[in-house]
């Protein structure tokens, strides 16, 4: 992105933020497939609104459309912050319908899922460029964070000058290694949690209020 385009983009963002008033900020939940993005979105939505955002599954690309939960009001230390939570499909550079066959899904359904997954990833990238005010980047702390998708996505988020929190999810797993994630992205704050078990959610909400309030 050229300098002029960057300048224009930054001024545009600053202006829209300035005049946004009390409009809720759209916080995109991004990350690779199966990192626990929807589990986290549901945890946040249930804790503060009582409703879920979407179905969770161990099958990759279960979330194939960006889903938004509006007006999630999080109260911390006597103050409240209202955000729209946008749960996005897991970002990848490849989708092969044969991967779905390994989860006992019939070919016709697998092909349909793969097509929807590709549309979902494209939609997620579009949201990232145009429509979110901040990012929660979710990683499975039991997996290697040094992947190309993570490197590229963090680079794209940084280039958009978006505030970002990195959530090291699945700390309930035996192979969880939060420090590995902190070492991979030391320029950003890493928050450990288990969205499934609800572990360390107090710190999660403190950080959301601090970064996106």
């Amino acid at each position: 992105m050229g300098l002029l385009t960057s300048l224009k983009s930054s001024v545009s963002r600053a202006t829209s933020t300035l005049f946004a008033g009390s409009e809720p900020k759209r916080i995109g939940i991004y990350g690779p497939p199966n990192a626990g993005k929807t589990t986290l979105a549901n945890r946040i939505a249930r804790d503060w609104t009582g409703d879920a955002v979407g179905p969770e599954s161990h099958v990759p690309h279960e979330t194939r459309r960006a889903r938004r939960k509006e007006n999630v009001e999080i109260k911390r230390n006597g103050k409240s912050v209202t955000i729209d939570v946008v749960d996005t499909p897991g970002v990848t550079t490849k989708v092969d319908y044969k991967e779905f066959l390994e989860h006992d899904i019939e070919k016709e359904d697998a092909v349909r899922r793969s097509r929807e997954a590709t549309e979902g990833v494209a939609e997620a990238m579009h949201w990232l460029r145009e429509d979110v005010d901040g990012v929660i980047y979710v990683l499975d702390s039991a997996e290697d964070p040094f992947t190309q998708v993570n490197t590229m996505l963090i680079g794209i988020i940084e280039s958009q000058d978006l505030p970002v929190l990195i959530f090291a999810n699945k700390i309930d797993l035996e192979d969880s290694n939060v420090q590995r994630i902190a070492n991979a992205f030391p320029q950003h704050e890493t928050v450990p949690l288990s969205a499934l078990e609800g572990d360390n959610m107090d710190e999660v909400y403190d950080k959301i209020a601090e970064y996106f309030g």
Binding site: M1, T93, K94, I156, S159
Partner: protein, 148 residues
């Protein structure tokens, strides 16, 4: 720009300059074409021209090596266009590798304003079903390329 084709014996053959439109693929089952694209060649191109140059090569089964990597916005577009071209029993997407970025937090707007650009890194891109990353760290990218 040289074009290098590896044969079955692992030897490399300089086969002359490509046309750059992806139509000159030499993938005849005996080798894998590697297109090494210089920074000079990419400099004058718009985003979509770069993406088409890359994806046309990858669609032909070639491995594309960029002397200078893409900007984050261009990577975002590359993912988006790649997704739109995936089809069952055909193109399954891309594998892309660059050296991990320097984690110094200087890559935002201020960093670019100060002339710190983190995009000038060698980048390897290939068909997802033909290239597999074996190892990657700050100084080494080791990949296995198959003819499938």
């Amino acid at each position: 720009m040289p074009e290098i084709t590896a044969d079955d014996d692992g030897e490399t053959i300089d086969s002359g300059p490509p046309t750059g439109d992806g139509s000159d693929s030499t993938d005849d089952g005996d080798g894998i074409q590697i297109d090494m694209i210089s920074a000079d060649r990419m400099d004058g191109m718009r985003t979509m021209e770069k993406i088409r140059l890359i994806l046309d090569g990858v669609h032909d089964g070639n491995i594309v090596i960029l002397e200078q990597g893409l900007e984050p916005e261009e990577e975002s577009k590359l993912i988006e266009v790649t997704m739109s071209e995936i089809n069952p029993d055909g193109f399954t997407g891309i594998e892309i590798e660059t050296y991990p970025g320097e984690s110094n937090g200087d890559n935002g707007f201020i960093g670019r304003l100060m002339g710190r650009d983190n995009s000038n890194k060698l980048t390897v891109i290939g068909p997802a079903n033909r290239i597999e990353t074996l190892h990657k760290d700050e100084t080494l990218i080791s990949t296995l390329v198959t003819r499938t």
